[in-house]
Symmetry: C2
Subunit: 342 residues, 2 copies
DNA sequence: GACTCGGCCCAAAGCGCTTTGAGTGAATAA
DNA sequence: TTATTCACTCAAAGCGCTTTGGGCCGAGTC
């Protein structure tokens, strides 16, 4: 069933039917009701491509995901973020379009999406420092919102980020208050902006107490379970091992935890661990007192909000960019305790 | 730049330019070269919506993801599956369209995708037993491939599945060979088809040795870390606790492992654990001998193949449906050992 | 020389919608 | 009464592409 057929059934012109369906005021209420009834009776919805061609919009939002295993995106948080964003999209009549591309072809992907008119806007994931995709998107004139943000760019653009710096600073303070002095940082890849900010927070807290960050206690890499495990083992086997670990992801933290067991150490007693927790649906829940003390921030909620920001931006392209900083909660679990006396 | 403008620059008709671009034989080689050169020079690509409207195709594949936390899809494997499928799509010029919907509106979502002509095909995730979405998609005439399969349906449709039954049967045999007799099963939600098959494999292996499955040792639920943990604790605290666990997912297995530690038991010595491992990028790797003995099957590879099957199906809709059964590898790690003598 | 036949190329229709610009009849105002 | 407005409705153009159905021209055939 298409518009023409439907309007024939109604003895109306396609014009009127289209207007009735789209809520234009020029059509009599009674007529509108008739049209709506017929549409649902004949199970009609407008063809999205035709509608898009006529309006110049696609009602779709693009997410470009680089394929490389190096990238931090095809990872546990992906599903939750998408779920959050998807909620917002579907309540606003947008589709989510995901483009998986070779690592070095991300920019081409943006260009292509724009040229072919496939999407009305873009959500940018996993920004690196001085990320070149941001000026590119501005140049293309494609509305976008960044999940995270990129240091070192003069441009003004919309983003939503967790206050990573503050979160890790607080977590470090918490450990310092417990008497820990040798704290290890197991961070994400520090080309990623969030990782750099976390490290800054960590080091700021140390400096504020007159301590100096020990580079030997700072590790950065892709946040896998294995990486957490091997890094922690190496650190624990040092002559002066850390008494606490600050870890950038739940998955790596599980690796750290495994390393502690391997060395016969009790988490929360012999060694403390704080991790960042993205509140993933399948890791949380259950216990009254969580396993890990963590800096917690729901990536699903972030998805919802970023999507909403982008839709707003598409609706009013001339509004000034917006920035949102979400604060992470410092949630106390069973993985932290006073530093052991030496 | 659109077709008309480009053809004006070339002093050719839009017809010829379109044909040149799409590789039709009616155009002189030299002309085609000129067109191609101009297209790349002026950075032209056809507008996807217009192309779609004219051809009746959208060059997009739909994935409908129910939103409920109950569902097994917004979960760790999602990212990896999508990455695999996305690879295939982008090499064939398809976009991936993800629709996140309320749990009970999945069928509407399919109808709507079809009506509005948004996608050329569908990948069906997380089939339940006698899943009603399968007949629906057939009725709609929308090409589709199921990741997994659904028992109890008479229809013939395309699917790709892991041989879950065989995998769990082999894993159980492996444990039985090690002398284990009280084996617990920590399964996914058994409304899910794969979970039912895994249980069947488990019970078949037991029966083949004249043992009877003990319902008290079988748990099923959403595969979270917390669920693995609490289920395992409950089982370990029984008067006759299991000496081995067969677990349906890596995440739950980590919970099981935590429960073992809580009870001071050594995994692989006091208690054996086998888990299914979807070969997620962030959980594997690193160690020479993996932590868990597992039935392993790459969900990313599954994504690649399912996508390819669907594209083939779209290209030749009259070909008979295809079924692919992937065998899982039984990979020996450090989590299994002989049953302790009582 | 007339005729066919490829090889190339083009005009125009059509995909299904939105939107502009106009028209109609009825109600109100002058 | 005539003019003006208002509330509805419609015809037609246009979005950017593909595709059908020719058309033209030069080469080959008889």
């Amino acid at each position: 069933m298409n518009l023409k057929e439907l309007s024939a059934k109604l003895n109306l012109s396609p014009t009127t039917v289209s207007r009735a369906l789209n809520g234009y005021p020029e059509v009599k209420e009674e007529t509108r009701r008739r049209v709506l009834a017929a549409a649902s009776r004949y199970d009609y919805s407008p063809n999205a491509r035709a509608q898009g061609l006529a309006t110049g919009r696609s009602q779709a939002i693009g997410h470009v995901i680089p394929l490389s295993t190096k990238h931090e995106m095809v990872n546990p948080i992906f599903g939750d973020f998408i779920a959050g964003a998807g909620e917002t999209y579907s309540s606003h009549g947008y589709e989510m379009l995901i483009s998986v591309v070779e690592d070095d072809r991300a920019e081409d992907a943006y260009r292509s999406l724009k040229r072919r008119g496939v999407v009305d806007g873009i959500i940018l994931h996993g920004p690196r420092m001085e990320d070149s995709r941001i000026p590119l998107l501005q140049e293309l004139g494609l509305p976008f919102v960044v999940h995270g943000r990129a240091s070192g760019l003069p441009q003004d653009y919309s983003w939503l980020d967790v206050n990573n710096r503050r979160a890790f600073q607080r977590a470090t303070d918490f450990l310092l208050d417990l008497g820990h002095r040798r704290i290890a940082l197991i961070n994400g890849l520090e080309t990623m902006d969030f990782a750099a900010r976390r490290r800054a927070g960590f080091e700021t807290a140390l400096t504020a107490r007159g301590l100096k960050a020990d580079p030997a206690l700072e590790v950065s890499g892709e946040m896998t379970e294995a990486m957490g495990h091997s890094s922690a083992l190496a650190l624990l086997d040092r002559p002066m091992p850390p008494t606490a670990f600050l870890v950038s992801s739940m998955v790596s933290a599980m690796g750290v935890r495994r390393a502690l067991e391997d060395r016969g150490l009790r988490m929360g007693v012999d060694v403390s661990v704080i991790t960042h927790d993205d509140a993933l649906s399948y890791f949380t829940g259950g216990d009254d007192v969580p396993l890990f003390t963590s800096t917690r921030s729901s990536v699903r909620e972030a998805g919802r909000q970023v999507a909403q920001m982008l839709i707003d931006r598409i609706d009013s392209p001339d509004a000034p960019p917006r920035q949102v900083l979400m604060e992470a909660e410092l949630t106390v679990g069973r993985s932290t305790g006073p530093a052991p006396t030496e």
